[in-house]
């Protein structure tokens, strides 16, 4: 039980570290690269902006979930 808990906590700690890296990357990507373009879309092409907004948030969710699930599987696979 204790060994299992330690393994889970370790996996979560690694996952949190990965997320911190992704978050930092995202600040550069989203805020600096996409910011101006999205602002332009929101002002001039509202319908396109709405569709792009949905695609971006779902895309981010799927990618983040897939990446962390894959990494967790690898981490657990190695520790077993």
């Amino acid at each position: 039980m204790k060994q299992g808990t330690a393994r889970t906590l370790r996996a979560f700690a690694i996952e949190l570290g990965i997320y911190a890296l992704l978050v930092t990357g995202y600040f550069f990507l989203v805020l600096h690269l996409l910011g101006g373009w999205l602002y332009g879309l929101e002002v001039h092409h509202r319908y396109t902006y709405a569709s792009v907004a949905i695609l971006l948030i779902i895309g981010q969710a799927v990618v983040l979930e897939s990446v962390t699930t894959l990494l967790l599987r690898l981490i657990r696979g190695r520790s077993e």
Binding site: F12, E15, L16, Y19, L22, V23, Y26, F27, V30, L31, L34, G35, G36, L38, Y39, E42, R46, Y47, Y49, A50, S51, V52, A53, I54, L56, I57, I58, Q60, A61, V62, L64, E65, T68
Partner: protein, 308 residues
């Protein structure tokens, strides 16, 4: 950091932390967490219309992750979720139109704040009363009825007699929800619960899980674990629609939503996994303080006008 779409200056670290906390709540309680996220965005100076729309967008992403986890745990009733999505979308549009009316009248912040306070306090009071009553009655029963760990899918509620009376209403068409253990219930009851939730979602923001999750348990008689998972699945559909309609109306800052979601994604996973270790009434009792926190933040911003 400056967000050009809403014209707000907000710390991205603040947004990630709010997203993370709301993600845990969402994964654990099956709610979007808008009763925290909406007031938290309002606290840093975002207008209510932007707080509502942006929160909806971030909820879409978070619910995708949490619902996937709950589906793997067998906590999603797909039939119920798809039916509820229809009622919720209609309600969300009605709620968004109300926001537009208030925006034109120029008093959106005051009215939405007052409604939010009343709704959040009412939900907390009701869930405190019900979950305590249920836990007390469970203690009185013999120990063999006690629920244990991850197998605690069956649920008891002090509101049970009212739920059974609702299920006995024979308003055609009646449908069965085998995954949720409901033999027959009127389709209109499901749509009504979903529509009311949708109106609150469109008006106060978020997926309105704070009203729909309790309604699913108390009105429709869905076990809490299934209500949590199904609500999240349904929120993906209804919040996507809500995001679209609010974005078209100029109420969504997707940059803020994307930053918040980076925190919410990990929080939602932690919350979803945690539901395995708690019985239904205890999940509902733990839910009680959350709307109170939202209400407290709204009262603070309403009366002081302060921003962080």
């Amino acid at each position: 950091m400056f967000f050009p779409i809403s014209g707000a200056h907000i710390s991205p670290i603040y947004l990630v932390i709010v997203g993370f906390l709301v993600g845990i709540l969402g994964g654990f309680f099956g709610v979007g967490g808008s009763f925290i996220a909406g007031p938290a965005l309002r606290l840093v100076g975002l207008d209510w219309n932007f707080a509502v729309g942006t929160d909806l967008a971030h909820i879409v992403g978070k619910s995708v992750v949490a619902a996937k986890r709950h589906r793997a745990l067998g906590n999603v009733d797909l039939r119920l979720g798809l039916i509820m999505a229809i009622g919720t979308i209609a309600g969300a549009e009605a709620g968004a139109q109300l926001i537009q009316m208030l925006k034109r009248a120029g008093n959106v912040n005051l009215i939405v704040s007052i409604v939010a306070i009343v709704v959040y306090l009412s939900i907390s009071a009701f869930m405190l009363w019900e979950s305590q009553k249920t836990l007390r009655s469970q203690k009185r029963r013999s120990s063999k009825e006690k629920v244990k760990g991850a197998i605690a899918k069956r649920d008891k509620s002090a509101f049970g007699p009212a739920t059974r009376a609702i299920q006995r209403l024979k308003i055609w068409p009646m449908i069965a929800l085998p995954t949720s253990g409901v033999k027959a219930i009127s389709l209109w009851m499901i749509l009504l619960v979903a529509f009311v939730g949708g109106v609150f979602g469109g008006f106060l923001g978020g997926g309105a899980g704070y009203i729909r999750m309790p309604s699913m348990v108390y009105v429709l008689g869905i076990p809490t674990h299934l209500a949590v998972g199904t609500d999240l699945f349904e929120i993906i559909i209804s919040a996507s629609y809500g995001t679209l309609t609010h974005a078209i109306k100029g109420n969504v800052d997707i940059l803020i939503a994307l930053v918040m979601h980076t925190g919410a994604a990990i929080g939602a996973q932690i919350g979803a996994i945690s539901t395995q270790y708690f019985a239904g009434p205890k999940i509902r009792l733990a839910f009680v303080p959350l709307p109170l926190i939202g209400a407290a933040i709204v009262i603070y911003t309403l009366f002081t006008g302060h921003k962080l």
